[in-house]
């Protein structure tokens, strides 16, 4: 070893006592992370544990409220990605930051300064491709590349800017298994050449197979920092999920919890070997079979990108099946997670937003006075606070918007309860009170006999409401008992038998 023991001590990245608040939520509470040079470091945690926030701070995209940052041994004030790049930090985001119509070389050149010398970028990329074994055509248009090739472009972008520390946010979530393995192998060899890799993941297998060290975040705190050799899937799961999670549960279990021993109720939704494909042609759900009965809430749990997005939309009738059979009522209510994008017309009145339901199949005149009366009754029933039914949606608070959406999706034409409803992160962005109201409405819908399919990235919300839980992992579906440990383990792809 040419450089003495000092270099072993030196960290490529050291974050100490990092605090970060978003409004009233504390995303990071005195979090720390120490990444040794020349290693692959896995950063683990549940959805919302603060992994991404911590790494966005390391890349200069967020400023911490408190704490110190050391990059390659030097204290660093990172106020922009440019300052992080200048210190040799590169980041590959989960959602790529590429210009689709530009070539690979043009995308790489985008971050540069001064004169644009595309030829130099192209030859630089060719040289890089040879050195790293990346098969990248610098003159190919990015939109024509596969997802894994686009990811290589992102990595190449970082490397062309001389990154020695590469942070990757869930890099394998978008890749098919064979490509994932290839990427992990490459990251390993990259680190072996003296560089450093931080891998944000919630897949335990990945963390254990290629990383040297592991850090686990839970609720914004660093709860475990150890060498991978000294950890097991078991100890990591425990660190990620915490011990007894039941004490965090509010409101207690619903009264009508239907176990497997209860008589089966009439099935409203029945899926048989359903396979779903996303917009880019990647298989997201593989041969899933399940049943949702009347009067139950079926919770869906899964880490980001496990296929829940596609599954929910298929059940709601918004995504066609690739294969299989799905029996469902003709009109299923749907509350999508991105309310402003997919559920409401912000500049239209509450009345018009109610009329939006089934607007695609309506004929002839719209009797606005009738819709207005219907809206008023929905507002009364769901306690929607607004200056009136003609108030623009934009002027209504998020919680009240969501209540109106839920009311609309639960009410069908003849003002009876919908037989089935799919809700996706129904309380995202809502305050505690509004969230509790939404929960009450969902329970009431169930008690009135509706089949409710609920997904939340907050596993506690799923456990709080669900009568049964279906866990998604890498496109496969498994039924799990309403039990935090088991569900958490299955979500992370940990092996082990589940007692059902």
């Amino acid at each position: 070893m040419t450089e003495s023991s000092k270099s072993e001590e030196q960290s490529a990245l050291a974050l100490e006592g990092i605090d970060k608040r978003f409004g009233t939520t504390r995303a990071l509470v005195s979090a720390s992370l120490r990444v040794r040079t020349g290693t692959v470091h896995a950063l683990l945690g549940e959805n919302g544990a603060g992994k991404s926030t911590l790494m966005r701070i390391a890349y200069g995209m967020e400023r911490p409220d408190a704490g110190t940052i050391l990059v390659h041994g030097a204290t660093a004030r990172l106020d922009s990605p440019a300052s992080a790049i200048a210190r040799g930090v590169g980041m590959v985001h989960q959602h790529f930051t590429l210009v689709p119509v530009m070539t690979v070389a043009e995308n790489v050149a985008l971050g540069g300064h001064g004169m644009l010398d595309l030829q130099q970028t192209i030859s630089g990329l060719r040289e890089l491709s040879e050195r790293t074994g990346f098969a990248l055509d610098p003159e190919a248009r990015v939109e024509l590349l596969s997802v894994s090739a686009q990811q290589r472009v992102e990595i190449a972008k970082a490397l062309m800017r001389r990154a020695r520390l590469l942070v990757l946010d869930e890099p394998t979530a978008v890749l098919p298994p064979s490509e994932s393995a290839a990427l992990l192998r490459w990251l390993r060899s990259f680190a072996d050449q003296g560089n450093t890799v931080v891998l944000i993941t919630h897949k335990l297998g990945e963390a254990l197979s290629i990383s040297d060290d592991v850090t686990v975040l839970r609720h914004g705190r660093t709860v475990l920092a150890a060498s991978a050799a000294n950890t097991t899937a078991e100890s990591l799961t425990r660190a990620m999920l915490g011990s007894a999670a039941g004490d965090e549960r509010v409101g207690g279990p619903p009264e009508r919890r239907l176990g497997a021993q209860d008589p089966p109720n009439a099935s409203i939704i029945r899926a048989e070997r359903v396979t779903l494909v996303d917009a880019t042609g990647v298989v997201r759900i593989r041969s899933a079979s399940f049943v949702v009965g009347a009067g139950e809430i079926v919770g869906i749990a899964g880490v980001e990108g496990s296929g829940q997005r596609e599954l929910l939309r298929a059940v709601a009738g918004r995504l066609p099946l690739a294969f299989g059979r799905l029996d469902r009522p003709s009109s299923v209510g749907f509350v999508p997670e991105d309310r402003h994008r997919d559920a409401v017309l912000l500049d239209r009145s509450l009345v018009e937003n109610v009329a939006l339901r089934d607007a695609g199949t309506r004929r002839g005149r719209i009797e606005w006075s009738a819709v207005g009366t219907h809206t008023e009754s929905l507002m009364r029933a769901f306690d929607v606070r607004a200056s009136g039914p003609l108030a623009p949606m934009r002027t209504v608070s998020g919680g009240n918007q969501q209540k109106l959406v839920l009311a609309r999706e639960l009410a069908i034409e003849d003002a009876e309860l919908a037989r089935a409803i799919v809700v996706e992160n129904p309380t995202r962005g809502l305050d505690v009170r509004a969230a509790a109201q939404i929960h009450d409405r969902l329970r009431a819908a169930r008690d009135a006999g509706a089949a409710v399919v609920l997904y939340s990235s907050d596993i506690d919300e799923v456990l709080l409401l669900a009568n049964r839980v279906l866990v998604l992992y890498a496109g496969t579906i498994r039924e799990a008992p309403v039990d935090r440990d088991t569900v958490g383990r299955l979500m992370l792809g940990a092996e082990g038998d589940v007692a059902t």
């Binding site: 997919d342 559920a343 017309l345 912000l346 500049d347 239209r348 018009e352 939006l356």
Partner: protein, 366 residues
């Protein structure tokens, strides 16, 4: 709330809205007057004679009002309505000019193809107008297809199609539709019996005005009261929410809006040749299809308000002519006013939109 209270509240709301509209209209007209005066001073023309000619030319007499102002408002009302409906549905149809030109060509072709004489003339007028609407819709359909199939931006394709339409007319009046002596680049004049009838006691104003008025009212009613109209508003506001929450076929709906818009613009061409020019030639439109964008924007994309803004722009065009004739002020000066007006409206809308967006963006959750 009792029924009487409710009726009172509603009446108050209507009054408030009417007052607001009236105030806005006053501001617009006053600023046009002011801006014209300023420009006249700046360019060095006598202010009072200029303004007076502008006013007299547009509103000086019943004859000026009907036969100069209102007659010019007819194509503006139809194309303005076409643009308003399209923009409301998120379709940026800049091609009303080209659609108008092809509509005019189609109407003339039908009118000239029918041998003179016979009792079928009213039917021929209807057929010619229908042909104009169909031609306009087909021309818009080219851009609609390119948009739906290949994601070609309609702003670009419709502008390009405008140029092509101009050259198509150029060719027609020198080729298949040229008048029999083959001297002038224009079509033969259509038979007197095929002219649109004049409205009673309204000078040269023809029945096309009534048609434009009826269609503007119908378009506004459709957007407000029918499911089809609501679909247009919904996709214009948020295609993603329209598709996800409304189950609306966004592609099909925007294609239909595009065709409807083209039909209205094409009809404007048909009405113009049957009511005013009685023949096809190259400069049949002084840019009605472009002014239509201003007409629609000033009306905040509401076909009912388009009636008012079309009359306003008709008055400006009529007054501009009079100003040039009687006060020697170039009519292009009024184009400057029109352009300034459009800019003011666009900026005001952008400011309002930004204020709304920043006022109530919800706090992010991460």
């Amino acid at each position: 709330m009792s029924l009487r209270d409710e009726a009172r509240v509603r009446a108050q709301a209507v009054m408030r809205a009417a007052t607001r509209e009236l105030a806005l209209a006053t501001i617009v007209v006053a600023s046009i007057g002011g801006a014209t005066a300023l420009l006249l001073v700046g360019v060095g023309f006598p202010v009072l004679p200029g303004l007076s000619a502008l006013w007299t030319g547009a509103f000086g007499s019943w004859y000026a009002f009907t036969s100069a102002t209102l007659i010019r408002s007819v194509p503006l009302m139809l194309t303005g309505g076409a643009v308003a409906v399209a923009f409301r549905g998120g379709v940026l149809n800049i091609g009303a000019e080209g659609q108008l030109l092809l509509g005019a060509a189609a109407a003339v072709a039908v009118a000239l193809a029918v041998p003179a004489g016979g009792k079928l003339f009213p039917l021929v007028i209807v057929a010619a107008l229908l042909a104009a609407a169909v031609a306009g819709a087909m021309w818009a359909g080219v851009a609609a297809y390119l948009r739906a199939r290949y994601h070609v931006l309609e702003v670009i394709s419709t502008i390009m199609l405008n140029f092509i339409a101009l050259h198509v007319v150029s060719y027609l009046v020198r080729g298949p539709l040229q008048e029999p002596t083959h001297v002038y680049p224009q079509s033969a004049t259509i038979a007197d019996a095929l002219h649109l009838p004049h409205l009673p006691a309204a000078g040269r104003l023809h029945a096309g005005f009534a048609l434009a008025l009826a269609l503007a009212i119908a378009a506004g009613w459709m957007l407000r009261n029918t499911a089809a109209g609501f679909r247009i508003v919904a996709i214009g506001e948020s295609p993603s929410a329209a598709a996800s929450a409304g189950g609306i076929d966004v592609r099909a709906t925007s294609a239909r809006v595009f065709l409807l818009s083209g039909a209205l613009a094409g009809l404007a061409g048909g009405v113009e040749v049957l009511g005013v020019t009685f023949a096809l030639y190259e400069n049949i439109s002084p840019g009605y299809g472009y002014t239509a964008i201003a007409v629609a924007l000033l009306a905040r994309l509401d076909p009912w308000r388009v009636v008012a803004t079309a009359v306003l722009f008709g008055a400006l065009e009529a007054g501009a002519g009079a100003m040039q004739r009687d006060a020697g002020v170039p009519s292009t000066l009024v184009s400057v006013i029109e352009a300034a007006l459009i800019l003011a409206v666009v900026v005001a809308q952008a400011i309002r939109a930004r204020r709304q967006a920043s006022a109530d963006e919800p706090t992010a959750d991460t």
